[in-house]
Amino acid sequence: MVENIDLTVAPGEILCIVGESGCGKSVTAMALMGLLPPDVARIPSGTMNFAGTTFDMTRETLPSDLRGSDMAMIFQEPMTSLNPAFRIGDQIGETVVRHKGCTQAEGRARALEMLRRVGLPSPEDRLDVYPHQLSGGQRQRVMIAMALANDPRLLIADEPTTALDVTIQAQILELIRDLQRDTGMGTILITHDLGVVAEVADTVAVMYGGQMVERGPVAEVFANPQHPYTIGLMASVPRLTGPRGRLTTIPGTVPTMDTMPDGCRFRTRCAFAARTCATRPPLTDVGPDHLTACHFAPLEDMLRVAG
């Protein structure tokens, strides 16, 4: 149940979609890639403009010629997204051969070049290893090498560092940022970690219950969060500096699909919810390129503590 998501990514831009489990951030990414199973998922409306071509998402998906070449994706769990039965050099080479129509040898040469570029130690020897012989961080580097082998114009990374340790996460984020700077590709990075957002994003979109509740330039959203969910999310994260009082939380838990309320879906957990929240609030401007979907934004002007 993802509805009315509007996103734009420019070449060279990193857009972070942030939200908790079940907010629809992965479904959104899969829809863009055309990876939603047609027998389960239905897209009743939507269009996608990608590199000059418009796709009507209700009937078309991204052509398989573009998927994996012009638009590529990295997944959270590199162990399950690499084929355990094939050598990694062959897996990377295959994507190049499939999309570029080159020879096996050229594919292998490109695989080697990519492994070197993602900083895998001794890449010549690694061409012939199997995924299980690599660590989690190395597998994620292989995934990135594979995704970037065909010079995509848009990279979608779904929680690429969530399964990794912090020191490895820092390395992978730096790698994604460097490659993105070199190639000028647009990037959509999906994460639940506000720290990751602060670190890499240019633009951030906050999702809750399948709706986009806030979107804006990252510095603006962090300095001036408007939606109660964004505020709650930021207040919930323990910090590395500053005082260590009780954490301000978001009460309750995310409703399940069948108990999701109409209108603003956050209203069952929102401390400010009123009758008007039963109608869906439109995304409205609250600053430069900064949109939020809340009837009461800005809160401090609309509401106050009684007494």
Binding site: E20, S21, S135, G137, D165, V166, T167, I168, Q169, A170, Q171, H192, D193, L194, G195, V196, A198, E199, A219, F222, A223, N224, P225, Q226, P228, I231, G232, L233, M234, A235, S236, V237, P238, R239, L240, T241, G242, R244, R246, L247, T248, T249, I250, P251, T253, V254, A271, F272, V286, G287, P298, L299, E300, D301, M302, L303, R304, V305, A306, G307
Partner: protein, 370 residues
Amino acid sequence: MKPILEAQNVTKHFPTGGGLFAKKGLVKAVDGVSLSIVPGETFAIVGESGCGKSTLARLLMRLLDATTGDVIFDGRQVTTAQGRALSDLRRDVQFIFQDPFSSLNPRMSVGRLVGEPLEVHAPNMSKADRRAKVSDLLAQVGLRPEHAARYPHEFSGGQRQRIGIARALATGPRLIIGDEPVSALDVSVQAQVVNLLGDLGRDLGLTLILIAHDLAVIRHMSDRVAVMYLGRIVEQAPADALFDTPRHPYTRALLDAIPDPDDRGTAARPRIDGEMPSPLDPPPGCAFHTRCPHATDLCRTDVPAPQTASDDHMTACHHWRDIPASPRTTTPTRRSPATQARLELYRQATEGAKIIPVATPTPHDREDTI
């Protein structure tokens, strides 16, 4: 203060391989760890995957048997406890697991799950008393008494973790060991459980040992912190000292690696390269020397002995004096008065203040937000 739990030079070695093709090996998961936990404190053990922190947690309450070394709980030997002594130990020390989905039996109702420890440790309690106690426990962790009749699958991850906590509290333990108790939870729910554990620790005078990899959560919850790397404790200090003046290059690297929402534009932060070596084949000398920017020949040959950097601050590094003991530099997000007023309003609203509409916004307030 007399320690409630002590570990003296505890090791745990796992033999591996020895099959048809695999080479025989020995994983030194925990390699000579000594700890002393005082009553009422929250003690955190932090490290990356494979550092041995979960193995250590299991050794401390004997879910695993140590290869060598002693664990002493409240003056009693844990490592050799048998029969009655072991069952008393199980009553006094309880465990909270990471994954609330696999640690609760899906075929047992919540009432039975929470009541089960009472059946074992207080067999003489009447059924009615037990039911009343289960209701109390559920209320204590923020669930409703009627939840007792439901099954685990009917609850969200955060609620399941609350059930796990209620179950751990049932026997009236004095020490609770939590192995990544909040890391499987979403941020907003994680904050609720962090607050709950803090409240319970304070209200019940519990001692808490917390295993975690998230340094921000640890800073928030703990009094003292031990940092583990490849089976050994490399630094141990009161939380503030550890975060403000880390004395081991690995701790420094961990702190530098965390992306912090308060700290934008930090591309220039130092990074360490490489990955943790395999525990099957640990490097000689200081285990961290393969990734350490300060490593010298001494580090490649000699295992550094624990040294006292300052009061209660231990580090196992040959060169700790050369490491800049500065806190991580941050440039916190600057927020306008209007934003601060908004965040304050949110805090008060979530804490139950009554919120009413403002009749008309004043033009002055408007200007601040745009």
